[in-house]
């Protein structure tokens, strides 16, 4: 199990106040902003930026840059690993 990805799922649920969603419901490759995924919206995307700063110390200056990183838990984990190297 990838601990970072597990942590991310819990952080997403916590930061975005997702009701009725458990970490087990979020697969690593689920499209978070897709209607068939978590159906997140533009404000959620900004909350993801807060999440990155709060839990991972990563500052996103340009929200556009975050867009490709926020596609899935996989892409988020990759983005965080890239930034922390």
């Amino acid at each position: 199990m990838d601990q970072l990805k597990e942590d991310l799922k819990h952080q997403i649920i916590e930061q975005l106040n997702l009701e009725d969603v458990t970490a087990a419901d979020i697969s690593d490759d689920m499209l978070l902003f897709d209607a068939n995924g978590l159906a997140l919206d533009s404000i959620d995307a900004l909350e993801m930026i807060v999440l990155l700063e709060k839990y991972h110390g990563i500052q996103v200056v340009n929200p556009e840059e975050g867009k490709s990183a926020f596609l899935s838990v996989n892409s988020l984990a990759e983005y965080i690993r890239q930034k922390s190297n």
Binding site: L16, N17, L18, E19, D20, A39, I43, D44, L46, E47, V50, E53, K54
Partner: protein, 217 residues
């Protein structure tokens, strides 16, 4: 004649429509009180969970009146004006937002967008696809005279309905009173009782205060 054709109360102790208690909070529930009402009424609206308590109260009030006062609310999209009031605006949500930046200097955008009291009217407009007028005012206590004259003015200029009410919610207290006012053709019997069997109430300052006070003081 204008009537209050449906109204809803939510307090810390109960949830009622047209004065009749529908539900009381279950202390054993894992869910918030508003969520218990949402489940009870079998509302399916995932956006609800992202809203602050004020906006949730607005959505619950409108849906409860539709379901339990049996008002179809199939108005024209510009036919409904919304008017809500309370004493402390969005103070409870403001405090949550302040906490989000006081702790980590990471202010929460999802909380910030609810730090305006009029968001309750926006959420109702989105829920129902209504393009009418929305107003939010701040006043020290529920003023039936203000609401009565607003309803009369707006129905006189062609509104099919006015939905509004008092929504003061903070950690200690939940005061929610939401009404639907509609023009109803006058009944032939002049000595009609104030409250008819269907629960509708003739609009007047005294009558509005009376139904507000059924579960709030």
């Amino acid at each position: 004649m204008i009537k209050i054709t449906g109204y809803c109360h939510i307090t810390d102790l109960l949830c009622a429509v047209n004065g009749k208690i529908l539900l009381q909070p279950s202390p054993d529930s894992e869910h918030s009180w508003f969520r218990q009402i949402y489940n009870f009424a079998d509302i399916q609206y995932p956006k609800f969970h992202k809203m602050d308590a004020l906006a949730q109260a607005g959505v619950l009030g409108v849906e409860l009146i539709r379901l339990f006062a049996a008002r179809p609310m199939d108005f024209q999209d510009e036919g409904v004006d919304l008017v809500f009031a309370n004493r402390y605006a969005s103070a409870a949500t403001d405090r949550r937002f302040q906490a989000s930046y006081a702790d980590h200097m990471s202010p929460s955008p999802a909380i910030f967008v609810y730090t305006l009291p009029n968001i309750i009217t926006g959420e109702i407009a989105i829920l129902k696809k209504w393009y009418g007028e929305n107003t939010f005012v701040v006043m020290p206590e529920f003023d039936p005279g203000f609401f009565t004259s607003y309803i009369q003015r707006h129905i006189a200029r062609g509104c099919e309905a006015v939905i509004g009410g008092w929504v003061q919610i903070d950690e200690e207290n939940t005061e929610v009173f939401i009404f639907l006012a509609e023009p109803i053709p006058a009944e032939p019997i002049p000595a009609e009782p104030i409250q008819a069997d269907d629960g509708a109430v003739r609009l007047g300052v005294r009558e509005l205060l009376e139904i507000y006070q059924q579960h709030l003081s």
